[in-house]
């Protein structure tokens, strides 16, 4: 019986998958039923250490195991990265808004990801892949720092084979001794030659580091995307997840309950929302 709203569900860390030198995917098994919608986030607790918000990167149709891709960036993630599997963790949620997948039926969708920002987008992509016939076309444009920093390397070959899915990749820098089949340049360079009906039926879903989100949004607007058709994952340091503790405030919004998924239309009045 749940005693209060901040109480976590127990879960077991089943497996840890190395993605890059500082990014790992944690496969966890909640010991009670736990369902989420793609784009929503969870609070993952390392008992006695701390809690942090993450958006699952797995397919929401799969509920027994939840995958969360995490970059080592601070205290809690540092402890998580030392884990090998078998540890007990806590999970709360899911919280916040999700990607309105049904609203996208019949449309062309651009998924634009940068770095570890690919995590929520993988969950979104897997949701779309559940029944691709619902959508006219999907473009996955993904940028990372170097070829080594690409997450989910093992999934790209599969995605590249999909008919209605076009995969574009870029890296900021490519060392000479590494083979790379994508473009070299900032992720926005992938937007230069988009084959999409932007004005009439296109949706862009963006997630990445703040500076990437900022310049991607500007470029998308320049390409003709309507502000209401640009979906942004505005994750901040959501601490309670319930719209109470105040940490994730963005203008008059609480990202944890009004977001994390916002359209640019919703937040464009806020001065410099990408920080």
């Amino acid at each position: 019986m749940k005693k209060h709203i901040y109480q976590p569900i127990e879960c077991i860390l089943e497996k840890v998958i190395d993605e890059t030198k500082n990014i790992k995917t944690f496969v966890i098994r909640p010991l009670e039923p736990f369902k989420f919608k793609t784009g929503q986030f969870v609070e993952l607790a390392v008992p006695g250490i701390g809690e942090a918000p993450f958006t699952p990167s797995s397919n929401p149709y799969k509920t027994d195991l939840i995958e969360i891709t995490i970059m080592e960036a601070g205290f809690v993630t540092g402890v998580l990265h030392k884990m090998k599997g078998g540890e007990k963790l806590g999970i709360r949620g899911p919280y916040g808004t999700s990607y309105p997948v049904e609203k996208f039926f019949g449309k062309e969708i651009l998924i634009l990801g940068g770095g570890v920002g690919m995590a929520p987008l993988r969950s979104f992509l897997l949701t779309l892949l559940h029944d691709l016939t619902n959508f006219k076309k999907i473009i996955l444009a993904y940028g990372s720092k170097t070829p080594d920093d690409v997450v989910y390397k093992y999934m790209f070959p599969e995605w590249e084979k999909e008919n209605r899915l076009e995969v574009l990749k870029s890296v900021d820098i490519c060392p000479v001794d590494i083979q790379w089949d994508g473009q070299v340049g900032l992720v926005t360079c992938l937007l230069d030659h988009l084959k999409m009906d932007i004005v009439h039926s296109s949706i862009a879903v963006v997630c990445g580091p703040p500076v990437m989100m900022k310049f991607s949004t500007l470029k998308l607007l320049e390409k003709g995307f309507a502000p209401a058709n640009i979906y942004l994952s505005m994750e901040a340091n959501m601490s309670c997840g319930l719209g109470k503790c105040g940490h994730c405030q963005l203008g008059e919004f609480f990202i944890c309950k009004d977001g994390p998924v916002f359209t640019y239309e919703q937040i464009k009045h806020i001065r410099d929302p990408f920080v």
Partner: protein, 332 residues
């Protein structure tokens, strides 16, 4: 609305009666300031309802500085002497903690456990500016019973069922108020309202929302207003509408601990990896004014500031929110 009268002697008998079912917190005067204190059967005769607002707000009764979030326990209590400004600030914390997808169990219990016996201000501090925030120095809502001091005792009115019931249960303590008593109450209220208005005459700004919104680009935020701030967080701790907290882990898997947090500290908005939406001190101060005067007003329809002036009183750098608003207005 029925209004009653209770004399100075009977008010203490009424408090004694209340003590049989709940703890009583009322005010204690010390060098012109009022502090919250717990009263017992021995001290109940000394209960003070205060001339003006206390040093700290009443949010601590519902949302303690630090709280172990585990089991929910019942602690019936009566809070005697909160003022109009305190009650107004509850609008914000009530909306935050009681509404949304889920109500906060801990706040909810403490809030419903508390009987609020408020009182009119009979004087004001130099920092008081409730009238500038369209609030009166006498409570109009959010209380169970209100006491308006007059010469021989108090005019009593109640707006909640529980308040009415308590008065009904003590028919020998309360009489129906007579015209003369009501007249005295109204006169006191009017006089004090005038006094608060007069001491704030030099502040010409009117609509706080518009004042802040219009002047967000003013250079004064950075160059003057925030310059003297020493980032002590004092203003956030005494503010009765601040609800921000930090959630932490405990040894018990299912429990959490929470402590008040302040948007004025540099680490407040920082995310793992170091990015910070409000790196600069003036950005944090701007955010504070936005939160109180714009955001919460947009969310909940009420300013998250009632003009209690606690932030003015506590500030070691003498930052006065009234003056800040005046400065940015002049800068237009």
């Amino acid at each position: 609305m029925n209004q009653f009268f209770i004399n100075n002697h009977n008010i203490h008998r009424f408090m004694l009666k209340l003590l049989s079912s709940r703890a009583i917190y009322a005010l204690r005067e010390e060098t012109g300031n009022f502090y919250w204190d717990r009263y017992t059967t021995e001290t109940v005769g000394l209960i003070n309802i205060g001339k003006y607002r206390s040093i700290t707000s009443i949010k601590q009764f519902f949302f303690p500085v630090q709280e172990f979030l585990s089991d929910i326990k019942s602690h019936p209590l009566a809070i005697v002497g909160p003022k109009s400004c305190d009650l107004h600030l509850l609008n914000t914390s009530d909306k935050i903690f009681l509404e949304g997808m889920f109500a906060d169990d801990f706040y909810k219990h403490k809030r419903s456990d508390a009987l609020i016996i408020s009182s009119d201000c009979t004087d004001c501090k130099l920092s008081c500016f409730c009238t500038k925030m369209d609030i009166t120095p006498y409570p109009q809502k959010n209380y169970d019973i209100n006491l308006s001091p007059i010469k021989e005792g108090y005019v009593v009115d109640c707006v909640s069922n529980i308040g009415e019931e308590l008065i009904r249960q003590s028919p020998n303590l309360f009489q129906k108020a007579i015209e003369q008593q009501l007249h005295e109450k109204e006169k006191n209220r009017k006089d004090l309202t005038e006094k608060v208005k007069k001491q704030n005459e030099k502040f010409k700004w009117e609509e706080p929302l518009m004042t802040v919104e219009k002047n967000m680009v003013s250079k004064l935020w950075k160059d003057e207003i925030a310059k003297s701030c020493v980032e002590c967080d004092g203003c956030r701790y005494v503010c009765g509408s601040c609800y921000c907290f930090l959630l932490g882990e405990t040894k018990d898997f299912y429990s959490k601990i929470r402590t008040w947090d302040s948007c004025q500290s540099a680490g407040y908005g920082r995310v793992a990896g170091g990015a910070n939406p409000r790196k600069e001190k003036f950005q944090r101060l701007q955010n504070l004014y936005n939160c109180k005067m714009i955001y919460r007003k947009k969310n909940f329809g009420n300013y998250a500031c009632s003009g209690c002036g606690r932030c003015i009183e506590v500030c070691p750098a003498k930052i006065d929110i009234r003056e800040s608003l005046q400065r940015i207005t002049n800068d237009e």
